[in-house]
Subunit: 323 residues, 2 copies
């Protein structure tokens, strides 16, 4: 099976946007609606680094698409299209790709995004994927990391720490874990929920936003750095899932791990205190929790009952390091 057969059979049905030109040209061609700006992000995933060997290819596809959509959500953008890079071993390539494409198709329908182009190549190494996602945002309305002001409230969506627990569960590190909790945590790891609707709703409301991929503490640190302010977070206020609470109660995890582990793909955002009512209205659709306040200074201060929490890496803002 050649590359062109792969494109025709598997990828072309995903290229629903007219600008993809049916994947038959050297590039995609499209316009951005008047009054809108383009928002583009790119993420890479490698087997054995970002996902475990043997993971269902459909799950890999969903994670890949969702982590990029989460970046678009953090900027307040509407998804439009994506470009895909695939590196596959020759053996079993077709079977792997069929399942992968099935996962992509399911999620791109759910989130309203089209394949626009890409490149599929063979590799002697691990499977690896790259995805470049594009969205659109009204000109000047993109959410940034740099707008947090002293006195603003800090909010997060969903629950924090499920990603790192899901990874440990998937690796088989937690044999005593309840079956339903295991399933919940692994699903949170493999199929995060990009907060696209909330991101859109935060246009003109949030002063800063980021998605939590490196861990709450690290990503709060990125907002602090970009905004030249301190993010002061009350660890007791950080929303945890029931599964995480149960593990905490059994000493199977620590608050430090939950607040510094990555892969949550929730949004952290700040908004003026005067807008707290507007933010509360959004919480009717998506769980949103106030976890602290922007203060003068720099970096991140996480306190529990008034005492500072310290993180394994020695600094709030560690996160996973590749090198």
């Amino acid at each position: 099976m050649g590359e062109f057969e792969l494109i025709d059979e598997l990828f072309a049905p995903l290229a629903t946007h007219p600008g993809a030109l049916g994947l038959t040209d050297d590039a995609s061609v499209f316009s951005i609606p008047e009054g809108f700006e383009a928002v583009v992000t790119k993420d890479v995933m490698v087997e054995g680094v970002h996902f475990l060997e043997g993971t269902d290819p459909a799950r890999v596809a969903q994670k890949l698409l969702r982590v990029n959509l989460s970046d678009l959500a953090a900027m307040g953008a509407d998804p439009m299209g994506y470009w895909l890079g695939v590196q596959l071993r020759k053996a079993g390539a077709r079977e792997w790709l069929s399942a992968f494409v099935e996962g992509l198709g399911r999620d791109q329908r759910e989130f309203g995004i089209s394949l626009m182009g890409g490149d599929t190549v063979s590799t002697p190494g691990p499977i690896a994927l790259s995805l470049t996602a594009m969205g659109a945002v009204p000109s000047g309305a993109a959410l940034r990391r740099s707008g947090a002001k002293v006195g603003d409230k800090i909010f997060v969506t969903g629950t924090i720490g499920d990603g790192v627990l899901g990874l440990r569960a998937a690796k088989g590190e937690m044999p005593d874990l309840d079956g339903a909790d295991r399933e919940y945590l692994v699903r949170r790891l493999e199929r995060p929920t990009p907060r696209l609707d909330l991101g859109r709703a935060l246009r003109g409301l949030a002063s800063a936003a980021i998605d939590i991929s490196d861990g709450l503490a690290a990503d709060a640190g990125h907002v602090a750095g970009a905004s030249n302010a301190c993010l002061t977070i009350d660890a007791e206020a950080v929303p945890l899932s029931d599964a995480a609470r149960r593990m905490l109660a059994k000493d199977l995890t620590t608050l430090e791990e939950l607040l510094s582990g990555g892969d949550d793909y929730e949004l952290l955002f700040t908004a003026p205190a005067a807008q707290a009512g507007e933010v509360a209205k959004l919480a009717a659709d998506v769980p949103v929790t106030a976890i602290g306040e922007v203060t003068a200074g720099e970096g991140v201060q996480v306190t529990r009952n008034g005492a500072p929490l310290s993180f394994p890496s020695g600094r709030a803002g560690g996160g996973f390091s590749h090198f």
Copy 2:
């Protein structure tokens, strides 16, 4: 050295476009000039597949950027920005990246394009790169593969077949090759010339265009397929470099190899016969040669002295297959 240090020290200086936001946000944000459309392409390169192990990282960077720019040239687009995915082994990552970034910097200045974002991750496998390049073209003016009409003339830029000879030379398969020819051919392989100025000049003039990455015969076949016509090519008219001519004379290559080998990154385009004078004017700046005519039928017919030429793969349009 963490990912954030890598970004600050090595990548941020390449992010000259304001829309890159200094690589400090979740995504890039930018507008497309009014009256223009965006043109986006993506290519992946894997060590051991697309470039030999031990290739100077600066050369890898230049090739990666140029093959994508060649796609933009084939669409008639002006380069704007690119997003980069890098997979690197931990050992020696910093040194490799420093040289890689140096190559990118040199070429992005030459071609007027800015780094806009990306992702750098570790891998236990071969080095691999992906690049998504964006350009802009006046709305409706993008060159396509599908516009060739019966009676149009077929043209190519530069010389054909140097890419495949360069690959054989780089692999050490041609020990008797003259030193200067070797150097020329390897440079053609490693540092192709994206025909951006010509692509721009072809807006409104060419009826179809493609860049030659899979080999002249294969890429002519793509135009034929998209245009529902036959591309009839006179093999004797196809422009060859002096180095390729010398190898042909010594039976070190065949016309079939030169016309079906990939990696030339020249443009093949068609234009109405009435425009031949306009095309000839362009040839003052870039070598352009007429090599045939669009005829009724389908596929590609390559003839030498009136007799059909057949290709190793059994069909004109083989090209390199990954799977």
